[in-house]
């Protein structure tokens, strides 16, 4: 039921790749949570959260530490029990964690092929690794990869499954600024190519605005704010970008001093250098 819509979207974006897909309410959502609650003892980490992500939509989730970002992602990844709550997710989901979490005793291509059961597993892993630019490291041990290569391997491992939902848990946080920018491009390209619904958990406002169709701000286990990003990709940090940025920072409880903005434009990864 979801498949034809994904295909139609893929066609749309192929024609006009820079336009964000609209989130028309008529489309059956890939992800749907209704009044979701997750509680550890007395502590309600997720508190009556409503969330809907359309097929092929790129959503970024911002929030301070302890706001419930990672808990929400784990729930959507199926890593935490949901009980009998109303949680809809695609059957195929894949996670890219902040640390690549490659199995050190499996060569790169075997890590990508982890859990795949078809015959031509090696060919599929090889294709996925070529897509992320690692066709030459198929038989390398993970311990010999750089941080960026490890994360690209993790991306290949996620995408080789053709997931309906791609969950990115601060996947660029541990990378240096330049590698991070390259990874942003790579993720956007792969997303355009495969069109999974994406939930990117991040603490980087600029990253969220650069990549996502829609940015959500999570606070105390609830969606505190939502911003649609109507900008065309690739996104330059222009005035509209800055306006969204200021609003999002406001939602996060941060006042952005005007004098710092120039520097922050020059370093969109959030490294405020004067």
């Amino acid at each position: 039921m979801v498949q034809p819509r994904i295909r139609r979207r893929a066609f749309d974006t192929a024609a006009v790749p820079t336009v964000a897909p609209s989130t028309a309410p008529s489309i059956a959502p890939a992800v749907k949570l209704n009044g979701f609650v997750r509680q550890f003892g007395e502590n309600r980490v997720i508190d009556g959260l409503d969330l809907s992500i359309a097929p092929g939509e790129f959503v970024a989730l911002l929030g301070a530490s302890g706001s419930g970002k990672t808990t929400l992602l784990r729930t959507l990844a199926g890593l935490d029990p949901v009980g009998d709550q109303d949680v809809t997710t695609p059957s195929t989901r894949a996670v890219v964690f902040q640390d690549a979490r490659l199995l050190p005793w499996k060569k790169v291509w075997r890590n990508v092929a982890l859990g795949l059961k078809d015959k031509d597993v090696r060919a599929r892993a090889e294709a996925a690794l070529k897509e992320v630019g690692l066709g030459h490291r198929l038989d390398a041990w993970p311990s010999t990869l750089s941080g960026g290569e490890a994360q690209r391997t993790a991306l290949a491992r996620a995408l080789v499954r053709e997931p309906g939902l791609l969950l990115l848990d601060e996947p660029f946080a541990a990378l240096d600024a330049l590698t991070r920018l390259k990874m942003h491009d790579l993720v956007l390209n792969l997303w355009n190519e495969h069109r999974p619904a994406v939930l990117l958990v991040t603490h980087d406002v600029d990253e969220a605005i650069s990549l996502a169709d829609r940015v959500l701000v999570l606070n105390k286990g609830r969606i505190a704010a939502e911003e649609h990003i109507p900008l065309e990709r690739p996104r330059a940090p222009d005035a509209r970008f800055q306006a969204i940025r200021r609003r999002l920072l406001g939602h996060l409880g941060v006042e952005a001093p005007a004098s710092h903005e120039g520097a922050l434009i020059a370093f969109p990864t959030g490294e405020a250098v004067q």
């Binding site: 890593l79 989901r93 996670v95 199995l103 499996k106 060569k107 859990g115 041990w141 311990s143």
Partner: protein
């Protein structure tokens, strides 16, 4: 010019050029060789009687003679078979119990206390009981080796399983691995380095227990050879057997090292070689 050369030598180093002390200072083989030479001289000059300790040259001759006659290889094979049988049983039991205790809470509750109790009983102290139970044939020897080598393998495997990075397990689960595939792809390989520590220790223990177990009325094997030699005061054969025991220990260690190098090639320290 000759003066300058002499000056340089006398100032730069206490010995003239070409003197070998500095190299010998790192020669770790030297003291064993000197000891061997003193031993040989002592034997030759009658300071060490033959029935106390045979001369190294006699030992070497006996070693050669025993090897050529096939007596040593045949007995060695018997001993190796005992050790292998005991170790095989220990491996099967220890891996099963280690996984059971490592992978489940109730498994740990049931298995671990029993293994810890077993650890407090010195395995060799079970010898009389095993003789009563199993007689004086092959069974008590193999059983002793099995019992003594089970614990190190069990303990290290258990610790290895429990020490696995849970984040890796979680990632694997998120990619659909569960049950046996999770154990095979993630948990066993992750516990492997620790398992090898246990295996290496167990191999050492197996040689140790072999020595004692073969004192039980052995009709063949290194222990049998030693017992016979004792009865005839053939110290040369006793020393040959001691040497073989030492070689067994070295061989066992080399075997595990080779296995480790193959199985743990992914570890950064080995990758860089």
């Amino acid at each position: 010019m000759s003066l300058a050369t002499a000056d340089r030598i006398s100032l730069a180093r206490p010995f003239p050029k070409g003197w070998r002390w500095p190299r010998l200072s790192r020669a770790r083989w030297l003291s064993p060789v000197v000891l061997l030479a003193l031993w040989e001289l002592g034997s030759r000059f009658g300071l060490i009687p033959e029935r106390v300790l045979a001369a190294p040259s006699t030992v070497a001759e006996t070693f050669w003679a025993l090897t050529v006659s096939g007596e040593l290889p045949a007995n060695l094979l018997v001993s190796l078979a005992r050790a292998a049988a005991g170790l095989a049983i220990a491996l099967a039991v220890a891996v099963s119990l280690g996984l059971l205790a490592g992978l489940s809470r109730w498994g740990e509750t049931v298995v671990d206390p029993l293994m810890q109790i077993k650890r407090t009983i010195p395995s060799l102290a079970l010898t009389p009981l095993f003789i009563v139970w199993f007689g004086i044939g092959e069974t008590p020897k193999i059983a002793l080796i099995a019992v003594a080598t089970t614990f190190p393998i069990y303990l290290n495997l258990f610790a290895g399983v429990r020490g696995i990075d849970v984040r890796l397990v979680e990632a694997a689960r998120s990619f659909g691995l569960s049950g046996w595939s999770l154990v095979r792809e993630v948990i066993l390989p992750g516990a492997l380095p620790s398992f090898f520590v246990g295996l290496r220790y167990a191999l050492g223990v197996s040689v140790l227990v072999l020595v004692v177990a073969e004192q039980i009325n052995a009709q063949a094997g290194l222990g049998h050879l030693i017992n016979n030699a004792r009865d005839f005061m053939r110290t040369d054969i006793i020393v040959v057997c001691l040497l073989v025991y030492a070689l067994l220990g070295l061989g066992a260690d080399a075997l595990v090292r080779t296995l480790e190098r193959r199985a743990l090639a992914w570890r950064p320290s080995l990758v860089e070689q």
